[in-house]
């Protein structure tokens, strides 16, 4: 993520204007086509050169339930969720809730056709005469309903000071240049923008002024980036079962594969299978990984639960594949359209018996791309299932990104023996190099010595069935040794040390954004701390060093029980007393206000109470 470091926590102008430093919430009903209007507004701010981020706060529903879209414009580049100062209220069911959510001085943009509009003296209300603006629209039915959303797009853009041509260009981009769609929507946007220009007196302080902070950036979702990274990692086979919020990984994957992995004559050299369930999806990708094709699946918590037994078999039989878990809020169905980081502990040891899996922990769309190909490399290098834990916030929301960097190293297919390279006395699980990783062969190899039988039962170094105690012990010790080899293959944590700080904070994934913003504010209160963002498990010495040099280390994570904190305590038993959990989960991404509030008591020079007991 591109973050511009501001000079002060809240840049305010002497004239009282709030320039590119506010949040908008758009309240509509699910299934009314508001996403186009919302993303076009987001894109318009982006095209003004202003850093922006959008979060879809949506229900598990196809049509009718309330849905909100949050847009944060921030000249400073902050992208964490922020309570809205502007509410666009177009859903009769949430009018009052939306108005009530505003702080004094906030702005309410109201659909004037809705009855029972709330009254608040301390907010500025602009009423949009939707029916009047739709008068000249000739289309009918559902399309007309969709077009209603174009009215707030035009009005809000005008109020913020976004020129019409920028909105037009953004609409073009949003529709991917599909003329007919642009031609249907644009007149409503234009009419609304011009109506606002002619009829509304701007009395609120929120404006967008042109900047040059986004010209080298693009807008993309984490799931799309994950799919693209996977394609550039050479994936050949994917199997999956639809589940929110991971479905769009595979949708994007199929579209990128069709474009990039099809011969001139139309012959595909990839395969994507929609399985009957996640039990089968994981079996298919393991089958393909075993047979020599780079494979992946994408799922979320409930699906990951079903993949547990097979992942354990993959670990024990040493079969490569990659599992993307786009985390939502569980257990059970939980909150399927809300974000969380509650699968960490489960994923790390997925399966029964002894077993541990490498996990990538991306925080940005750039990392979704990079870990997309790196995870495939690691899976084949370490011959084991590899997990990538993204989440709904990262996966489904639209983020600014720097242009993705092409993989900076050759594809690593790991230790392979083929044909004449296979020795007559080949043993599949013989640790000839001493790193716990034994060379493998693919089915189809004509050398008879290459064949081996993959199984979940106990086996000797030659992959032959064995119940001998020494075989079991030695094999699982070798697997543990292999896991130590993997420690050195995970991406390094990002560390920012503050000289004399006795407090360190450890974050993973998207909690970094609220934490960085909170840290910036706290620094202005002289409450500094060191910060480390973990990017993978298992940990290596960098994490030990970080914990060792701070008296107290607070682990910020989005679940109830502090799962990552527990893992770190177990991995660093001698330092466990320094690790304290700051875990919180309600389904929404953190705001900087929240994190500032949670951290501050731990940073006070002379706390009246023992702060971590309140965590």
């Amino acid at each position: 993520m591109a973050v511009v470091h501001p000079a002060s926590p809240r840049p305010t102008r002497s004239d009282g204007r709030r320039v590119a430093d506010f949040s908008i919430s758009v309240g509509t009903a699910n299934g009314t086509g508001s996403q186009t209007a919302n993303l076009t507004l987001l894109r318009s701010i982006f095209n003004m050169g202003v850093p922006v981020h959008g979060k879809n706060v949506f229900p598990s529903n196809i049509q009718g339930l309330p849905t909100w879209f949050h847009i944060r414009a921030s000249a400073a580049g902050w992208v964490a969720r922020q309570e809205p100062e502007i509410a666009v209220a177009f859903n009769p069911a949430t009018l009052h809730e939306d108005a009530a959510s505003l702080p004094p001085g906030g702005v309410l943009v109201l659909n004037g056709d809705l009855r029972g509009a709330p009254e608040r003296d301390d907010v500025i209300t602009y009423v949009v005469p939707v029916a009047e603006l739709m008068n000249d629209v000739e289309v009918k039915g559902k399309v007309k309903d969709f077009l209603i959303n174009m009215t707030y797009l035009g009005v809000v853009a005008q109020l913020l000071g976004i020129p019409l041509d920028i909105v037009h260009r953004s609409l073009d981009q949003q529709f991917g240049g599909r003329r007919k769609l642009v031609d249907t929507n644009l007149p409503v946007v234009e009419a609304s923008w011009r109506w606002a220009e002619a009829n509304l007196e701007k009395i609120d302080p929120f404006v967008i002024e042109p900047m040059d902070a986004t010209s080298d950036l693009m807008l993309i979702t984490g799931n799309d980036a994950a799919a693209l990274g996977t394609v550039f990692g050479g994936v050949s086979f994917a199997a999956w079962y639809p589940i929110t919020p991971s479905t769009s990984v595979i949708d994007a994957l199929e579209s990128h594969l069709a474009a990039l992995r099809t011969d001139a004559d139309g012959t595909p050299y990839y395969s994507v299978v929609q399985a009957e369930d996640e039990l089968a999806a994981i079996g298919m990708v393991l089958g393909a990984g075993w047979a020599g094709a780079r494979s992946m699946t994408a799922t979320s918590g409930p699906g990951l639960s079903l993949m547990a037994e097979f992942t354990g078999l993959g670990y024990f039989a040493e079969v490569p594949t990659v599992i993307w878990d786009i985390q939502r809020v569980g257990p059970s169905t939980g909150l399927p359209t809300r974000t969380g980081q509650g699968d960490i502990a489960f994923a790390y040891g997925l399966g029964h018996g002894d077993g541990k899996h490498p996990i990538f922990l991306p925080a940005s769309v750039e990392e979704c791309f990079a870990f997309g190909w790196q995870a495939l490399d690691l899976a084949e290098r370490a011959q084991t299932p590899v997990l990538v834990l993204s989440d709904l916030d990262l996966g489904m929301n639209t983020w600014m990104a720097e242009r993705f960097a092409y993989p900076d190293r050759e594809m690593d297919r790991g230790k392979l023996l083929r044909g004449d390279q296979v020795p007559d006395d080949y043993g599949r699980y013989r640790d000839v190099d001493g790193d716990g990783i034994a060379p493998r062969t693919f089915p189809g190899d004509p050398n008879p010595a290459a064949a081996w039988f993959a199984r979940g039962t106990g086996h000797d170094p030659n992959a032959v069935y064995s119940e001998r105690p020494e075989h079991w012990y030695e094999n699982t010790q070798r697997l543990s040794h292999k896991f130590d080899t993997i420690r050195g293959l995970m991406p390094d944590p990002i560390v920012d040390l503050v000289g004399q700080a006795d407090v360190g904070v450890i974050c993973i994934g998207t909690t970094i954004y609220a934490t960085e913003e909170a840290r910036f504010r706290l620094a202005h209160r002289d409450l500094g701390f060191s910060l480390m963002r973990l990017r993978g498990l298992p940990i290596d010495d960098a994490v030990r060093d970080f914990v060792a040099r701070h008296e107290r280390v607070l682990v910020v994570e989005m679940n109830r029980d502090g799962q990552l904190c527990g893992i770190l305590r177990a991995e660093l038993p001698d330092l466990a007393y320094r690790l304290h959990s700051l875990a919180y989960l309600d389904g929404l991404p953190y705001t900087a206000d929240q994190v500032e509030r949670w951290l501050a008591p731990h940073l006070e020079p002379d706390p009246a109470t023992t702060p971590w007991e309140n965590a």
């Binding site: 990039l260 990708v285 039989a317 081996w452």
Partner: protein, 344 residues
């Protein structure tokens, strides 16, 4: 060249022992051992190249048996009931290979019924053997889902539920090669195996394979005694390699139906039941129901239709298996990335 038969090489220069596996750890007299022996014999007779076969299995007594044949083929002993998914991935990664899977009645009829049915729908190119004994052996004698209604066993008591008929399930799922065999009838099993290996998609052979430890009383439909007394073959089966002329013996030509298989080989079905037509799905359902009602062990090729393409044909995969694509085919170019990113 007057070497003993066991040492005589076949068309690809391998002897029968080259198709063998590790010693069986199943019970003496188990039907599954007979099946493994016939697989070895058939692979030898057909001159299969072991490296072109992928052996697959689930969990159970049956699923141990791939270790006992084709020792120089790669194999994957998957999870209970989930051989189909491993097979789907492996045989899509390398669609030139042939799958030879061994499952059991518990594996396919209980936990794996879902994967079994979906495998039929996808028509993956593999031979799917069910070694069907109506009982769970490794857990010491519980009913399997194929145990007949009213079967009395020492451990499990009397079965109050109707059986799952895996041939019927395969038919419902859209399988184009549905057969039943009896482990005690080696010749018929061999001919069915040969034909199944020539089939374009998924070929199911449900093999009644008695469990000598827990389910071999003559009263049980999955026992040797019952099978011998009640086996009703639909036809005498002769498999003819692609390059050989058809020589019909013992039957009038009008009594023999020639079925062309996907690789050019043929199956000569000399009818025992004059009215039976294995190309009719409706008739197949009907005959299976009838057999169940009569307590027959109906054997032979019950249904055959090779018109439906296999999964890799549906996916129109190119000649090079996905597993063997070179790195430059796997990773699109730097320019391709730049081109894609321009859209964002």
């Amino acid at each position: 060249m007057n070497r003993p038969a066991a040492l005589r090489p076949n068309a690809v220069g391998l002897t029968k022992s080259d198709y063998g596996g590790r010693p069986s750890t199943l019970c003496k007299g188990c039907g599954h051992n007979a099946v493994a022996n016939q697989i070895v014999q058939v692979a030898f007779e057909l001159g299969l190249r072991p490296h072109e076969i992928v052996k697959l299995s689930g969990i159970g007594c049956s699923s141990k048996s791939p270790a006992y044949f084709l020792g120089s083929s790669h194999g994957f002993n998957a999870l209970h009931g989930r051989m189909p998914s491993i097979a789907t991935g492996a045989l899509t990664a390398n669609h030139h290979m042939r799958g030879l899977g061994v499952s059991g009645d518990g594996d396919s009829g209980s936990i794996g019924l879902g994967q079994f049915k979906h495998l039929m729908r996808r028509n993956l190119r593999m031979v799917y053997l069910v070694e069907n004994n109506g009982v769970y052996g490794l857990t010491k004698g519980q009913f399997s889902p194929t145990a007949e209604d009213g079967l009395a066993l020492k451990y499990a008591g009397t079965n109050p539920f109707p059986p799952v008929d895996l041939c019927t399930e395969a038919l419902v799922g859209g399988c184009g090669f549905v057969a039943r065999a009896f482990a005690g009838d080696a010749k018929q099993l061999r001919e069915l195996l040969k034909a199944a290996l020539s089939h374009r998609g998924t070929a199911v052979i449900d093999i009644v394979s008695p469990c000598v430890a827990f389910n071999n009383d003559d009263g049980s439909q999955k026992s040797y005694g019952y099978g011998r007394a009640n086996e009703v073959p639909l036809e005498d089966i002769g498999w003819i390699p692609a390059q050989e002329d058809i020589v019909l013996d013992d039957h009038e030509p009008g009594e023999t139906r020639i079925v062309e298989l996907h690789d050019g080989s043929r199956l000569a079905l000399s009818k025992v039941e004059h009215s039976y037509d294995p190309s009719s799905r409706t008739r197949a359902f009907e005959r299976l129901q009838q057999a169940e009602a009569r307590g027959e062990v109906l054997t032979g090729l019950i249904y055959f239709d090779s018109s439906r393409p296999s999964l890799s044909e549906v996916q129109a995969l190119g000649d090079t298996p996905l597993a063997l694509l070179p790195p430059d085919k796997l990773r699109p170019s730097r320019e391709a990335l730049e081109r894609v990113l321009q859209r964002y």
